[in-house]
């Protein structure tokens, strides 16, 4: 049995502001060595004003929010699109809520809408998670 209900909010996760150190550590730890995230000279050559955050860093933050809320073993599906670029100094907050209870392959699941957004309210990641009840 589960006490997950439609309308429940997933406890939000507010992150520290994104720094160059954040991006350097994530590049090394994740294996994503795309220089656009760690090398300002490369970023400028590619037409960007500065390095910018890996989309997958914010997806990892969404993952933290989900596994803080429910054990990872209950996670069946996790998806998002990357709606806006996250820049240095942005403060990202992850939020989500249960929008529907469904059944898939005989298993009851909570369908959750999730998002990451900047302090301005601009959404950076918009997605969905399916979590076993």
């Amino acid at each position: 049995m589960s006490d997950i209900n439609v309308g429940d909010k997933i406890p939000a996760l507010e992150l520290p502001s994104i720094t160059r150190t954040t991006l350097a550590l994530y590049a090394g730890a994740s294996g994503d060595h795309n220089p656009a995230h760690i090398d300002i000279d490369f970023a400028k050559m590619a037409g960007m004003p500065d390095v910018f955050a890996h989309g997958m860093l914010s997806m990892a933050y969404l993952g933290r929010m989900l596994t803080n809320w429910q054990p990872q073993a209950k996670l069946r599906r996790f998806s998002n699109r990357f709606a806006a670029i996250t820049h240095l100094q942005d403060v990202i907050t992850c939020q989500g809520r249960v929008v529907e209870l469904i059944e898939q392959d005989g298993e009851p699941l909570a369908r959750c809408e999730i998002q990451a957004a900047k302090a301005t309210g601009e959404q950076t990641l918009i997605g969905e998670a399916l979590v076993a009840l």
Binding site: G28, D32, G55, A60, R64, N80
Partner: protein
């Protein structure tokens, strides 16, 4: 225009060792404080057989292949013009420290929008552990700015 004949292309499969220290580093880099993601004793106390890989770690398996982003060479892409459009993961099992994960990836679609100004490359990957158990699948869309 990106080469549409590459739809269906299967990249060579490869196997990656999931290292405990690397998972600790990953947990640190994403600010994960739950000790099950960095401390083996805590993971075991929570019922895991080892430190679990966090939900997005499958993407790092992709990046640990013999070539970083083999799609770049195959489609002759300039990495400075590649953006990540979307990412999906399906969980059928759990990846743990100490596992050997075999990744298989193929291109399932290439299409364009805005009269070709943006092109989209869709790849699907599967992840199988050393016991032959399919533990996850992923679907990724890359956006190419022409």
């Amino acid at each position: 225009m990106l080469d549409r004949s590459k739809i269906g292309h299967q990249f060579p499969s490869f196997t990656v060792d999931i290292e405990r220290g690397r998972l600790r580093f990953f947990a640190k880099a994403i600010g994960e404080m739950n000790p099950i993601y960095s401390d083996e004793a805590a993971a075991k106390a929570a019922g895991h057989r080892a430190i679990p890989a966090p939900p997005t770690y499958m993407f790092s398996v992709d990046l640990d292949g013999p070539e970083l982003l083999p799609i770049l060479g195959l489609l002759d892409l300039d990495i400075g013009r590649v953006l990540h459009g979307s990412q999906e993961f399906d969980y059928l099992g759990q990846i743990y420290a100490g596992d050997s994960i075999t990744q298989q990836c193929k291109i399932v679609d290439i299409y364009d929008k805005k009269g070709g100004a943006l092109e989209f490359v869709v790849q699907e990957s599967s992840y199988t552990n050393q016991d032959g158990e399919l533990v996850g699948r992923a679907r990724q869309t890359l956006v190419y700015r022409n």
